[in-house]
Symmetry: C2
Amino acid sequence: MEIQALTFDVFGTVVDWRSSVAREAEALLAPKGHALDWGDFADGWRVRYAPAMAKVSRGERPFVILDDLHRENLVELLAERGVAGLSDVEIDELNLAWHRLDPWPDALEGLARLRRRFILATLSNGNVRLMVDMARRAGLPWDVILGAEVARSYKPQPEAYDAAARMLRLAPAECLMVAAHPSDLAAAAERGFRTAYVARPLEYGPERPARRPDPGTFDYQVESFIELAEALGA
Amino acid sequence: MEIQALTFDVFGTVVDWRSSVAREAEALLAPKGHALDWGDFADGWRVRYAPAMAKVSRGERPFVILDDLHRENLVELLAERGVAGLSDVEIDELNLAWHRLDPWPDALEGLARLRRRFILATLSNGNVRLMVDMARRAGLPWDVILGAEVARSYKPQPEAYDAAARMLRLAPAECLMVAAHPSDLAAAAERGFRTAYVARPLEYGPERPARRPDPGTFDYQVESFIELAEALGA
C-alpha cells in the first residue's frame, strides 16, 4: 500500500501557536495597560485545551467546535490573570488569535513539495473556519479540510482518524499522519495510519524543548517538512 | 450583511461534465469496440443522478456518497446501452470519469479573482474525494470542500445549505450560492443565502441550450465567473 494522502496535525506541527497567540494577545491587551508574560498567557490558554476537549470526548457535553471551547477557556484565563473590562466583541476578537497563527519557517516550502505528490489534508481539532482563515492568511495549500468538526469527534478519538480516511476513500495505511505529538501519532497508528513525527522543539517555548521519541518509534522521524519531502521522494 | 463566502455548485457550474464524461467514456470503451453516441451516454448517466439522490433524501436508504450512486447508475446504464463484459476494475475506472471533469474556459481566471476577496467553498453533491481529485487535476483553488458528504444531506435538502453556512460560521446572507441551476439557487435562497446565476448554455450539449431565468430572479445573473468577479468588485 502506497501512501496517497498526508493528514496533518496543525497546532504546533504546521504553525507556531505559542509565539503567534502571545503576539496577538499583546497587540490587543498591552494598549489597554496590561503587562503580562505573553508566552505564559499563551501557555495558560493552551493548557485548558485538552481538558475541554476531553469533556466532549467523554460525552459529558455535546460536540462543540474548538472556537467555542477556546472562548470559554479565554474567559477563565482572563479572570485568572486579572484582565477585566473587555467587551464581548473584544473577547471575540482575541479569540480569533487562533485563526492567525504563523507557520514554522519550513512549512510552506515543505507543503508545496509534498503537495506535488500527495493529497494534503488537515486532521486538526481546529474547526473548519479556523483552518480556512489560517490557511488563507498563511498560504497553506490544503487540498481539503478534515478533522474534528467534520468528524464531530476530537482526536485522539478513533472516529477523528476513521472519518478522514473514509472521506479520502483510502485505506488507513494509505494515509500518513504528520504530527509533532507522539500521542496523536500513536492514536493514528492504532487506526492503521502510517506515522511521521516532525520535531518542533520550540513549540512550548525556548525553555521547554519537546522531548523526542526514541528512534524507530514512528515510520518517519524528521526535523522539518522539507526533510519529510526528501524522505518521501516528493 | 456583506458577502464573505461564495459557495459553488460544481457539476455544470464550474466544470463541463457532459463533454468530459463523454471523452472519458469514449477513451475507455471505444478501444473495446463500442461505438456509442458518447454525449448521449453522458446524458444517460446524468439523468439517473437526481432520482438516485432523491431516494436518499426521502429516507428510503441511508446516506451514501455520490461515487457509490454514480457506480450503481453506471452499471444500469451499461446494461441499457448493451455494453457487456467490463471487469469490476474497469467499471471503477470509468466511474472515476466524474473526478476528471474540465472547468469551463472562464472558471480558473474567475475563481482566482474571486478568491482574492472571498472564501471559496464547494457546495456540491459530489463527495469529498471526488472534489479533491477534480480540484487537483484542474487547479481549482477551493479554500474548503463542503457539500453533501460533509452535511450528510444532498441538495436541495435544507441541511446541505445550513451545514455549509454553519461550518463557515456565517449568517446565510453572508454566503452567495453560485450555480447554473435555478432550482439549486431557489433552495439556497429559501435558507437565506444570496444567489448568483451563471449561464452555462452548453451544459446539456449544443442542441439543448439551458433556459435562462427571467431577469431579476436572482441577486446576480451573469454569463461567466469573470463577469461575477466584476459584479462583486473582486
